[in-house]
């Protein structure tokens, strides 16, 4: 019976998806974000497709199980059919049908994956370096480079017994001192690496999660819709030591003109300074 409840819970969850997208309160946060890029929407569609496939299979399989449990009870005088031990036809059917469903799932998944892996024709390259515990962003063609850490308000509140209620801190643990700034409608290539241990750069709204591995450079890209400038938040997704939970990512997506102005301003600010400083040890 509890299973039936679970199923209805899952269905209710699915029904509650649409309004849940931007709720600040936790109860409505039940599903993946659709995100603000073409790829993130395709990932969301794949996620919903496989979810509904599972729901349908679940209804059939759990239905038969529940039917058996309710109908074939000894207490109701059910007599076992002890000759029913094997049936080749049925066994072939329930092997072949799942194979066909899987093939049907694999095709769109593979198609999206091929698109994700296409890192050609990028318009802006940014090197992202994860370190214990924060991120460094390096605009390779423009000589702009800076660090991004957990913001001060969160950092104060997150101390053990800080006495500060996290609910009073705006974007608690999801805010940084300096966000990554990128333009809309631009294929931005990230070259992701790690300075010390493995980290993982993840912004759900872009459908991008890629490990930052010391000694190796990973590629990822995203292109935000023209009409979707704004602040997008994510977190490090690979356990990286004591403060793994405290190295958020914030991406400030601006119009192309705003971005160009910001980049120019930032470049002139950084000009007189020496080349990018080494990663700070105590942050």
């Amino acid at each position: 019976m509890i299973r039936a409840k679970l199923m209805s819970l899952a269905l209710a969850a699915a029904a509650a998806l649409a309004p849940a997208a931007h709720a600040e309160s936790g109860w409505g946060e039940l599903n993946l974000t659709q995100g603000v890029t073409d790829i993130s929407r395709k990932i969301y569609d794949l996620h919903m497709l496989i979810f509904w496939v599972c729901v349908v299979i679940g209804i059939v399989v759990f239905g038969v199980m529940i039917w058996s449990i309710v109908t074939f009870r000894k207490s109701k005088g059910a007599v076992p059919d002890t000759t029913m031990v094997h049936n080749t036809k049925v066994e072939v059917v329930w092997t072949v049908i799942p194979v066909m469903i899987l093939v049907a799932m694999a095709v769109p998944a593979a198609r999206t994956l091929v698109e994700i892996e296409d890192t050609s024709k990028t318009e802006l390259s940014i090197k992202v370096t994860g370190f214990q515990w924060g991120w460094n962003y390096d605009y390779l063609d423009d000589g702009v480079s800076y660090y991004s850490h957990l913001d001060r308000a969160s950092n104060a509140a997150r101390e053990l017994d800080s006495g500060i209620d996290p609910h009073t801190v705006e974007h608690y643990l999801l805010n940084v001192d300096q966000p990554l700034v990128v333009p809309v409608d631009t294929k931005v290539r990230l070259l992701i690496t790690g300075a010390d241990v493995i980290h993982s750069w993840w912004v759900p709204a872009f459908g991008v999660k890629k490990d930052a591995i010391p000694g190796f450079v990973n590629e990822a890209w995203f292109k935000v819709d023209t009409d979707k400038p704004g602040l997008y938040r994510g977190q490090c997704a690979e356990l990286c030591g004591r403060d793994h939970g405290f190295m958020p990512i914030v991406v400030d997506v601006r119009s192309k003109a705003d971005f160009a102005a910001w980049l120019k301003d930032k470049a002139t600010q950084q000009k007189p300074a020496a080349p990018p400083a080494p990663a700070p040890n105590a942050s």
């Binding site: 599903n31 059910a78 997150r158 500060i164 356990l239």
Partner: protein, 535 residues
């Protein structure tokens, strides 16, 4: 002469059972060693569970209330290591020790002294591991997956971690060798391979998996040991190594490992569902082949644990397809279990209740597993609470419920008493309800974007974390019933005959309850074997 025979008979009655501490420390008896394994596993279950309670306590609400983040990381790491290597694996070996000789018509395990050795390694291994909480730098905190370079930052507990992994691995390999030799050489005449109960089959395949992959884990951690102390750079890019290579080697062990944890549960459920459906298992041979295919596939899917490390497209496609393929034999198993109940005559004693919960909830874990196989979607799920929910669904209501089902199934056989059925039914309902309150909301948390292995979280994750924690406390408290029910049953209860359950088949039910100290001193006759092989 007659006097001599009579003397021998009298001697047999005494069963050569040693007394006092020697009975346990020097034991070469499969039942005593099995009991020690099970007590050990239960102890570790509560220690690992204690760590889980502390984790849920810290995550009850946002902000850090109790622990430093480093200690929190130690808790998650140690919870996993203790549960996997201390509770589940020794638990299965304990059940194998108790049941395999009885089920194949043998007097004992094939290698009794090895059996003693493989058990007695474990208390030392875990004393070493758990005492690492008290050394400078604290217990290992790099996750049970021990990825370098992070794990290379471990303090004084680093060599303790590596050496305890070596000990656990040695214990598992010796136990597995014993299982293989027993099954291959000690079966009674007439107990052909395709007459073996599925618990024996699944354990045979599990044992081969163990022998194949535990040395791989030992190799991986040894390479890390030499990286740390002897200047090698297997996993350090600066010296020409590759940190991702560790992940490949680890998961080449790690994926078969998850089937090591769950295959014996498949076997137990395949015995319990027919018993309480009063109907032979549907598709016995298909079940054996399905387990064998799952075991084979488990060797070629490892990189689905690491889709975000940046693999070539072709590799990602291969691992996606091979992973999806596992759904086919797993589906066959679920369909066969369901077909076994169809047109049966079902009753719902505690073993059946746990087996049914296994069936439903393991299937939910299978569904989320299928979702995780879709690589683009996995980019969003990877390292979030969605993954935590997935593997806890297959490990807690999957593996742990399967193990509890087995204990409740065979406990009357072991003790000769029926346990308190009402209390065990309470244990079931509390566990089944709380396990869902505990883990189902974690799907939502993961999808909403909460990474795993974090001690504190953004406030939009607060509500479901609180629900999950409440479920966790409820689940943890309910488990205290389990040792109490067992203890009560060992002390006494309604005496039962050879067969504890009306619909039970198999050689173990042909022996008295409790069975003699040496199970089958003479092999059972063909007729008895045929009566036991219900398929």
């Amino acid at each position: 002469m007659a006097e001599h025979l009579a003397h021998d008979a009298a001697h047999d009655d005494h069963d050569h059972k040693p007394h006092g501490w020697r009975r346990w420390v020097y034991s070469t008896n499969h039942k005593d060693i099995g009991t020690m394994y099970l007590i050990f596993a239960c102890t570790m279950f509560f220690i690992g569970g204690g760590a889980a309670m502390l984790i849920r306590l810290e995550l009850f609400k946002p902000g850090l209330q109790f622990f430093d983040p480093q200690f929190f990381n130690s808790l998650t790491t140690m919870h996993a290591l203790i549960m996997i290597f201390g509770a589940i694996m020794p638990g299965w070996t304990g059940l194998a020790n108790w049941m395999i000789p009885m089920q194949v018509g043998a007097p004992d395990m094939a290698l009794p002294r090895l059996n003693n050795f493989s058990f007695w390694i474990l208390p030392f291994a875990f004393t070493l591991l758990i005492s690492s909480f008290f050394v400078p730098g604290g217990a290992p905190a790099g996750g049970w997956t021990m990825y370098p370079p992070l794990t290379l930052q471990t303090g004084a507990s680093f060599p303790m971690l590596i050496f305890s992994i070596h000990l656990m691995g040695a214990s598992s390999i010796l136990g597995a060798i014993n299982v293989v030799v027993t099954i291959m050489n000690m079966r009674a005449p007439g107990m052909t391979l395709l007459r073996m109960p599925l618990f024996v089959w699944t354990w045979l395949i599990t044992a081969y998996l163990l022998i194949a992959v535990m040395p791989v884990l030992a190799g991986a951690v040894t390479m890390m040991l030499t990286d740390h102390y002897f200047g090698t750079t297997f996993f350090t890019a600066a010296g020409g190594g590759d940190p991702v290579m560790f992940q490949h080697i680890f998961w080449f062990f790690g994926h078969p490992e998850v089937y090591i944890l769950v295959l014996p549960a498949f076997g137990i459920v395949s015995e319990i569902i027919p018993t309480f459906s009063r109907k032979p298992l549907f598709g016995y041979e298909a079940m054996v082949y399905a387990v064998a295919s799952i075991a084979f596939l488990s060797f070629i899917v490892w990189a689905h644990h690491m889709f975000t490390v940046g693999m070539p497209l072709a590799a990602q496609l291969f691992f996606m397809l091979s992973t999806m393929l596992i759904a086919v034999p797993t589906g066959v198993k679920v369909f066969n279990w369901t077909a076994t109940m169809w047109k049966g005559s079902l009753s719902f004693e505690p073993p059946m209740l746990f087996a049914l919960a296994f069936l439903f909830l393991f299937t939910i874990g299978g569904f989320s597993g299928l979702m995780l196989a879709i690589v683009p979607a996995d980019y969003q799920y990877q390292d979030t609470y969605f993954v935590v929910a997935h593997f806890h669904y297959v490990l807690v209501p999957g593996t742990i419920f399967g193990m509890m089902a087995g204990v409740y199934y065979w406990l009357p056989k072991w003790t000769g008493h029926m346990y308190d059925l009402k209390l065990a039914t309470w244990h079931f309902w509390l566990s089944a309800i709380f396990v869902n309150v505990l883990f189902f909301p974690q799907h939502f948390l993961g999808l909403a974007g909460m990474p795993r292995r974090i001690p504190d979280y953004a406030v939009q994750f607060a509500d479901w974390n609180m629900v999950s924690s409440l479920g966790g406390f409820g689940f943890g408290l309910s488990q205290l019933l389990f040792p109490y029910i067992i203890w009560k049953c060992v002390r006494g209860g309604v005496r039962i005959g050879n067969k504890a359950w009306e619909g039970a088949h198999g050689l173990e039910w042909e022996l008295p309850s409790p069975p003699p100290f040496h199970s089958w001193t003479s092999p059972p006759s063909e007729a008895v074997i045929a009566r036991g092989a219900a398929h």
